[in-house]
Symmetry: C2
Subunit: 220 residues, 2 copies
Amino acid sequence: MTRERSIPEAALPRLALYLRVLGELTENGAERVSSDELASATGVNSAKLRKDLSYIGSNGTRGVGYEIAPLMHALEGTLGLTQNRSVALVGIGNLGHALVGYSGFAERGFRISALFDVDPDLVGIPIGGIVVEHTRRIPEVCPERGVTIGVVATPGQAAQGACDLLVDAGVRCILNFAPVVLQVPSEVDVRKVDLAVELQILSFHASQHGPGTLPRVVNR
Amino acid sequence: MTRERSIPEAALPRLALYLRVLGELTENGAERVSSDELASATGVNSAKLRKDLSYIGSNGTRGVGYEIAPLMHALEGTLGLTQNRSVALVGIGNLGHALVGYSGFAERGFRISALFDVDPDLVGIPIGGIVVEHTRRIPEVCPERGVTIGVVATPGQAAQGACDLLVDAGVRCILNFAPVVLQVPSEVDVRKVDLAVELQILSFHASQHGPGTLPRVVNR
DNA sequence: TGGTGTGAAGGCGTTCACAGCT
DNA sequence: AGCTGTGAACGCCTTCACACCA
């Protein structure tokens, strides 16, 4: 049994990517892939891909390729997706609504099982089949519903408070959409998605590209 | 004149972060910061922070710290934020709506100046003051409005088509929310935000943390 | 033969520690 | 005295190239 040793952080998003693309290949009827095929479908260098898969105690066949189904199971196991994870969402504004409606979560085994907001017009209303609770009830509701992941989609000034409540409720993993640096105890994992930062990075590249970056109709 | 040499890709998100936090400090009346102060406010190691700032031809004063205003200008210049960038958004579903309503863009100099969708019920309707155009009009409308950044928020199967139209329209920078690997010519920059991938990475960490990851009410 | 798995080399980014300026 | 700016060391990740096996 190949015993895998600590997977590099940098490999994790790629593992998730492989899993998704393998799912698409399966829908198209494929049962095997080579590292070259999967590499070009994912835009990853094939050597890197093989190394990534070797981290999870790889199951390819030399001279042949990878059997898709067992590979997907290995990936799901590694990513902890076998235990269906239940997610709490705090902040039901524009973005929160969008997240509730986002089918990608359910498709990949994440169930939004609690919604929170402070707006009295929202509390008590069901959205996507789940009744919005008041934010102050986080410490009570989250343990009841087995929440392991919290998503913060509040305005900036409310984010730290929401985060603190989630941590109190025993949530160890937080996805933060608010443009704020959350302070958490070291055992809590925070991932940040900052849309404006993404645009600023693109803006940097835009100003590098051609110094004359006036858009124009290009060769087609 | 300290001439900066190519900024590491890894530093860019941090530069954007420094800029935001410096803005907050300014609102609180501060005029100077030390690297230690800014480091703890951003959660970045102070040596790394100083090195990051040195990439942009740093403007600190030894023994004192950084003058906030000129530092912010330097950051804005580096990130290409002096030229107000105009953004096109393709796909006005849940997420698209949320993005239109997201104030963080405007606050940081990004103006959404074109909206596109294929839904006939949406085309012609103004959202946030901008009339939705049919997606097929991208190559015509984007150059007219000086769009330099395209945001793809369509369903997966429509994403590549939307992307192709944007590239045809001369857009060189694309932010992709669709769970799809976009194929683009090498001169085009794509950044990806995949919400499900973020959750999967958290899920991995959750399954590492304590093997017994049942949520419970913790010490407070 | 053909494609995986992997040591070894190389490159990039972070961290250290201190020289140098104010 | 204090804090910035930065060479140098370190470590992680990627890339290479080939041994190994079906």
